[in-house]
Symmetry: C2
Subunit: 437 residues, 2 copies
C-alpha cells in the first residue's frame, strides 16, 4: 500500500517526540499498520533552532497554514496547543478535507462540538487520544472497549502535576508551596502553574471523558472546578489517620435527573487501587453496568507517552481511510444525532460525602451542638476524630466524615456551624468518594 | 442503517449474559453503533431449559452447525468453549463468509494460527477480546492503543481464581486447600480446578498476549507453565516480611535472542500497583518503549464482564463491514505477512530473580557455604533473612533473594546446595520480578 503523508504542526516537546517515535519504531509501526507513515512537512516558530529529532526529508515552514493547505498531505497533526491559532488551523484542515490528529485538550473541550460537526460534514476524522491522560488509551477504551455498557460513573487522576504535588506532600511531609517549586524545577509544572493546580487542565479532560461516557455534547463551562492550593499537611495527615488518601480527582456520574461533572480534591479509601496511583502517573477508573469497575493507568504527559497516543491515532485514521464514514467510530462515542440533552447538574445538586475539619474551643457540648445541626439537616456522620488540644491551647480540631449528602444540605449545615460561639477558625471541607465499584 | 443479524452458539452463563446486555443496553449500544444488533438464532444443548434471559424473537436450535450455515446471519458468536466442536464451528462459519466473535481462549491459543489464516483468506474478522482478561479491553489496548510502541515486556494477573486463592491466603492466613474449596463453593473455581491452579488457563491467555505484543505466531506449546499448588503460608509470610506479595503471573519479555513466555508464582514488590490487584480481579501491566508502563485492570471473568467484551467486539465487527479488509486491524496486531520468527526461549535461558527458602541445620558456616556456591555461579544475593530456630529444634529457614540470573545458573547452584550436609529439607524457589518500569 502507498505511504500515508503527514504534516506536523508544532515541533516542541511533543512534536519532536512524535517524529522520534515514528522514526525509531518505523518498522514496528509499519508491520502493524501495513504501510508507511511519512512526515513530509512540519511547522515551527523557529525552523533554524537545532533539534534532537531527525528532520531529513521533511519540508519545514514557519507558517502552519502552509500545512493545512498542502494538497499532498492526508493527515494533519496539531501539536501547537492552546486555542488560537490551533482552532483555525484544525477547522481549515477539515475544510481542506484532511483528517486531523491532535493532543490539544483545551481545543477539544472548548471547541470540540464545532470541530466535530465540521468533520462530520466533510467526512473526515478528528482523533484526540493524546488529549486525555497522555499515553493511556482511555478514549479508545471508553469509546470502543466499553461500548456495551451503560457507564455509571468515572473518576480520574488526570493531572500529573497535581498528583505529583499531593504524593510528595503525603510521602515526605512537605508543604504545597515547597513541592510546587520542585515540580517547576523538574519541568512537571509550568512557570504559570494555574491550569494544573487550579484544576482547569483536569476540567478540560473531564469534559471530554464525560461527553464520551454519557453521550452528551462537550460542556466545559459546566464543570465545577476546584484546585489543590488549599490542601494542607494537616488535612493530608488527618485523612491518613482515617484510612484515606487525598487525590485531585475529575469525577462524573450519571443520575436520572442529570450528570455530575466536577474536579476537586477528594478523599479516597487507601485500599482502592486508584488511591495508590502516585507521582506524575494518571489513572481513570470507569464503572460500567455490564463490566463493573475497570481502571486504566499510565503516564499522563511527556514526549514519549503523548507521542504514543498521537501515533496510535495516526494508525487508526489510516485504517479508516477506506471505511464508509457512517461506519467509523463516532467522535464522541455516540452517533452525532444520538447525543442526549441530559443536563449537567449544578454543584449544589451534586451528592458526595465530606471530610470536615472544624476548629473549636475545647468546651463541653461543642460536639453535641455540631451533631445536632448535622442531624437537623439529615446529614449522617460516618466517623469522628477529636484530637487532644496542644499543651497551653484550648483549641482543637474536630474531624468528621459524613455520609453522602447534597452540597446544598451541607452548605446549610456549615452556615449554622459557622455561627456557633465555640468555632475557632475556618471550617475546612474536602469531598470524599468511596469509589465502591 | 439496517440491523446486523447475529447467531449465538451456547447459552450458558456467558451466552445468557450476552443476550442480557444486548437487551438491557439496546438503546445505548444502538446510539453508539448506529444500528441495531439483532440476535436471530441461538443454540443450546437443552433448548427447553428455563433461562433468565429473554429469548423472544430468537430461533432456538440444539445444533450449532445450523447457525454457521444460516444465510441470514452476518456474525456468529461462539460461546460454547473448549476446542471441539468450537474449532469446527468457527472454521465452518468462516468458510460460509461469516465474521466470528469468540470468548474462547483455548481455541485461539491452540488453533488461532489456522483460524486467522482461514479468516484472512475469506476476508472476515475473528474477534476475541473476551478471551483474555474478561471485561478488560486489553486486546484492543495492546493491538491498537499501543501500536506506536516497541513492547518490551508485559506481566498479567490473568486468572481470577488463582488470584483469589493467593489473596485469601495472604489476607486471612488460610491454606491453599481451604481457600480452593471455598472458591469452588463460590463458583470461582470449577469442580476440576486444574486449568486454573496449574496455570493452563493463564498460559492460554499469555500465548495470545505475547503474540499480539511481539508479532509472533501463537505458540501455546512453548509457554513454561507452573501452577500455585505448592505455595505455602510460610512463603507468603516470608515474602511479606521482605516487602513482597506472591502473585500468579503470566510474563513475557522480548530479548534480542528470543522471547521469554512463562506462567508461574512470582514475588512482586508490594509498592507496585499490580501487587495490589486482589481477589478475582485481573490486571495486565505493559511496558512500551514510547509510552512507558501502562496498566489495565478489571474483572477477568463472569457473565457481565465477558459479555461486555463480546458485545464490544460485535460493534467493532459491525463497523468494519465496509472497511477494505486490507485496512482492518490485523488479528494478531501485526500484518500476517509481517509476523516474525523470533524464537520463544526455553525456561533454562529465561532470566529472573529468585526467592529461595533453604531449610538447614543451624550450624556455624552454613550461610558461608551457601554464599560461596552462589558466588561461584556468579549469583548475587539481594537480601537474606535468617530466622531463629523454633525452641527445641535445630532447624532454620534461610531465605535468600537473588538478583536476576538465568534458570540454568540457578539450577547449577541449587544442585550444589542440595548436596550440602547441613541441608534439612527441600529447597523452595519462587521467581521474583521487580516490575521496574
Amino acid at each position: 500500500m502507498k505511504p500515508v503523508k503527514i504534516g506536523v504542526m508544532g515541533l516542541g516537546t511533543v512534536g519532536a517526540g512524535t517524529l522520534d517515535v515514528l522514526q525509531n519504531n518505523r518498522i514496528e509501526i509499519c508491520r502493524r499498520a501495513g504501510r508507511e507513515i511519512q512526515v513530509i512537512q512540519a511547522s515551527a516558530r523557529d525552523i533554524k533552532k537545532p533539534r534532537s529529532c531527525d528532520l531529513s526529508g521533511i519540508q519545514l515552514t514557519t507558517d502552519p497554514f502552509d500545512i493545512v493547505r498542502n494538497p499532498d498531505i492526508d493527515v494533519v497533526v496539531e501539536l501547537i496547543g492552546g486555542e488560537s491559532p490551533a482552532c483555525d488551523l484544525v477547522l481549515q484542515a477539515i475544510e481542506h478535507g484532511k483528517h486531523v490528529v491532535t493532543a490539544n485538550k483545551a481545543l477539544i473541550a472548548k471547541h470540540g462540538n464545532q470541530i466535530f460537526a465540521a468533520a462530520q460534514d466533510k467526512k473526515v476524522v478528528v482523533a484526540f487520544e493524546a488529549a486525555v491522560a497522555g499515553g493511556i488509551p482511555i478514549i479508545k477504551a471508553l469509546r470502543e472497549g466499553l461500548t456495551a455498557n451503560h457507564i455509571e460513573w468515572l473518576a480520574g487522576i488526570i493531572n500529573g502535576t497535581g498528583n505529583f504535588i499531593l504524593t510528595e506532600m503525603r510521602d515526605k511531609n512537605r508543604s504545597f508551596e515547597e513541592v510546587l517549586k520542585e515540580a517547576q524545577a523538574l519541568g512537571y509544572a509550568e512557570a504559570d502553574p494555574t491550569f494544573d493546580i487550579e484544576g482547569i487542565d483536569a476540567a478540560h479532560k473531564l469534559t471530554i471523558l464525560t461527553s464520551i461516557a454519557f453521550g452528551i455534547p462537550l460542556q466545559f463551562d459546566k464543570v465545577y472546578t476546584e484546585g489543590i492550593t488549599h490542601i494542607t499537611l494537616e488535612d493530608v495527615a488527618y485523612a491518613e489517620q482515617l484510612g484515606y488518601r487525598i487525590k485531585h480527582i475529575g469525577f462524573a456520574r450519571k443520575r436520572s435527573d442529570g450528570i455530575e461533572m466536577r474536579v476537586h480534591p477528594t478523599l479516597i479509601p487507601e485500599k482502592r487501587l486508584i488511591a495508590n496511583v502516585d507521582g506524575v502517573m494518571n489513572a481513570v477508573l470507569v464503572k460500567g453496568d455490564a463490566v463493573g469497575p475497570t481502571l486504566y493507568y499510565g503516564p499522563g504527559a511527556g514526549a514519549g507517552p503523548t507521542a504514543s497516543s498521537v501515533v496510535a491515532d495516526l494508525v487508526d485514521v489510516v485504517r479508516t481511510l477506506t471505511t464508509d464514514p457512517e461506519n467509523r467510530v463516532p467522535h464522541l462515542a455516540f452517533q452525532p444525532d444520538a447525543l442526549s440533552d441530559h443536563p449537567v447538574l449544578p454543584i449544589e445538586a451534586c451528592q458526595t460525602a465530606y471530610y470536615l475539619r472544624i476548629p473549636v474551643q475545647d468546651e463541653a457540648g461543642v460536639i453535641a451542638s455540631i451533631s445536632r445541626i448535622l442531624a437537623e439537616q439529615k446529614i449522617n456522620i460516618e466517623s469522628i476524630l477529636q484530637k487532644e488540644p496542644e499543651p497551653g491551647s484550648n483549641q482543637v480540631d474536630v474531624i468528621l466524615l459524613t455520609q453522602p449528602v447534597t452540597e446544598k444540605q451541607l452548605l446549610h449545615a456549615l452556615a449554622q456551624i459557622g455561627s456557633l460561639p465555640q468555632l475557632a477558625g475556618d471550617i475546612i471541607r474536602i469531598r470524599l468518594e468511596g469509589m465502591n465499584a
